[in-house]
């Protein structure tokens, strides 16, 4: 067991609770920084590209986590904000704006767009908000087609390469540089996110999630705070969308569809709602399953000469795995991680039923 003695206010405000924690996160940082070395050694960067993809998903996931996990506003339309970020980025780069300016700007414009979308629907709760954002997500593809001069419509648009102070970065030509770029953005956003949660802004988000009435009675302006959360969330999604564009190289009206929005929500629930870690755990699962399925299939094909080719099998298998995750780990992967950690911290006093859930009962959402 570990006891943390707090001797100053800093102890509560600091990023890490104790030195061991800081050491662990330091090691993690070293690991992710050193990961490309392995791929350089084996001379195949394919998997590194997948890892970069996971990081991009995690960036979008953090955006959605802030809105859904910390402010309590579900959204089934985050792919729309990703699309916004992606297309703004393409157009700015096309207009000759340097990447260092275009990239943040694409996030901010997606954020502003998110706020604009959010303001009329902020009175909605739960299912209704989910539905309104769902409608938005469905309409996105139509709007992308309508805005053909900027988006390329059905034919699609190519995404220019990144030119960062003269360094050319392309997902395929320079996978390592692209990885480090995405990693940098992800780490920066994690830092911003952590800062937010330890300051008044973040607390006002969670206050709204837990009790709107109380939040108002404490002087929190619901509309402004929710709009802020929407803004930050859409900004992160927009940045992820811009990176996604660079990663895909080519985007059409079907790239940012409803399935992507749904996947994002699935991701943060599986990862663990209400934890920054959850966005990463979820992204890892969502990123790994398709790779695993594809590998499994080619393994079957090469080893046993069994060719499984049923349309829809991937998504069905994917869905089945998700069902298992939700059934067996309702608190998300981060919840499982916390249990494992507690087991070791309390050893040997851990009780088998310690995390057995007491029966729980729901009350209506219709009282708001």
């Amino acid at each position: 067991m570990r006891y943390v003695f707090k001797t100053s206010y800093d102890a509560d405000i600091r990023l890490f609770k104790h030195r061991a924690q800081a050491v662990w996160y330091g090691l993690l940082l070293l690991l992710v920084l050193a990961t490309p070395l392995y791929f350089v050694a084996i001379g195949d960067a394919y998997l590194l590209g997948e890892i970069t993809g996971v990081l991009i998903l995690a960036i979008a996931g953090m955006g959605l986590m802030l809105l859904t996990g910390h402010t309590g506003l579900p959204s089934l339309g985050h792919a729309t904000f990703m699309a916004m970020g992606c297309y703004v980025n393409i157009n700015l780069l096309g207009a000759g704006v340097p990447w260092v300016v275009a990239f943040p700007l694409s996030g901010l414009i997606a954020g502003a767009f998110g706020t604009l979308i959010a303001l009329p629907v902020l009175r909605l709760h739960g299912v209704y908000l989910a539905l309104a954002t769902l409608a938005m997500s469905i309409l996105t593809s139509d709007f992308v087609v309508m805005a053909e001069p900027w988006t390329g419509g059905i034919a699609g648009a190519a995404v220019p390469d990144i030119n960062l102070f003269g360094i050319e970065i392309n997902r395929y030509a320079t996978p390592y540089k692209f990885y480090y770029l995405v990693l940098f953005v992800a780490i920066l956003l994690v830092w911003f996110y952590r800062n937010l949660l330890r300051t008044p802004t973040g607390r006002s988000f969670t206050a709204i999630r837990d009790s709107e009435i109380s939040a108002r009675a404490m002087g929190i302006n619901l509309t402004r705070t929710k709009a802020t959360s929407f803004f930050l969330s859409a900004t992160a999604a927009g940045l992820a969308g811009a990176l996604f564009g660079h990663s895909a190289g080519y985007v059409t009206n079907e790239t940012f569809d409803l399935v992507m929005s749904i996947t994002l929500l699935l991701m943060i629930v599986i990862g663990g709602l209400g934890f920054i870690h959850g966005a990463f755990f979820g992204a890892i699962v969502v990123g790994i399953i398709p790779v695993a399925i594809a590998n499994g299939r080619s393994f079957l094909a090469t080893t046993f000469d069994v060719n499984i080719n049923v349309p829809g099998l991937e998504s069905a298998l994917f869905a089945f795995i998700l069902v298992c995750f939700i059934l067996f780990e309702p608190m998300g992967l981060y919840g499982r991680w916390l249990k494992i950690r507690t087991y070791f911290e309390l050893f040997p006093f851990y009780r088998k039923d310690m995390f057995k859930r007491q029966k729980s009962y729901l009350k209506t959402d219709r009282i708001q």
Partner: protein
Amino acid sequence: MSLLDIQNITLKFGGLVAVDNVSLAVEKGEVFALVGPNGAGKSTIFNLISRFYDPVAGTIRFDGHDLLQNAADQVPGFGIARTFQNIELFEQATVLQNLLVGRHRHRQTGLLSNIVFSPKAYREEVRHREAVEEVIDFLNLQPYRDKMIGGLPYGVRKVVELGRALASEPKLLLLDEPASGLSVEETQDMAFWIEDIQTQMGISVMMVEHDMGLVSAVSDRVMALSDGKELAMGIATEVQSHPAVIEAYLGTGEVSKTGTSRA
């Protein structure tokens, strides 16, 4: 001038008159209690002050401000903090975090400095924590400081809610049934705290309470309401002995299995 001045306030729900032409004033530094039968409109008056409801007639002035001109989330800014009858805490947060939200009205940093955690944000954070730790000390909440609200017993939650209101350093504290569900021992603690809040912190208190022991122990003036109307007004003993109050609210005699009164 009174700190809180309510004149001829009336509220209707559909055809039902919940508050009927009530006037009252809370002076600086006093403890003012509202008593009365269930459904008399006591909590409704609190909700009117908090601007959760719009009155159909009347005025509410606080410390020189016309509250009716302001939205619910602006009310705390003037220095009014409140608790709720059925406890409205932030369940997924710790006691400390709940109290820190109480500091929201003293927030001075913006979004940007929060995100990058600027030195200014850091200094503000330390100030908030100092204020909150004082409240934790005052209410003996140290054992629960880092506990999640979800797992705390009812009595502790009541105290946390009081703490959250205090953390905002209000001029007027609205307490909705502070002693309901508390044991005799805890009610006594509550009485002492209310006394200290009044005398040491100089905060005026307005409370709704059924425990006449607590009401008479701490309040300077008591108003009895029934059916949304004023029934009696005065010091605790006067109101308690008012025949209409006894009839509508207090009742007489006691229950026992033998049917005889043991009063």
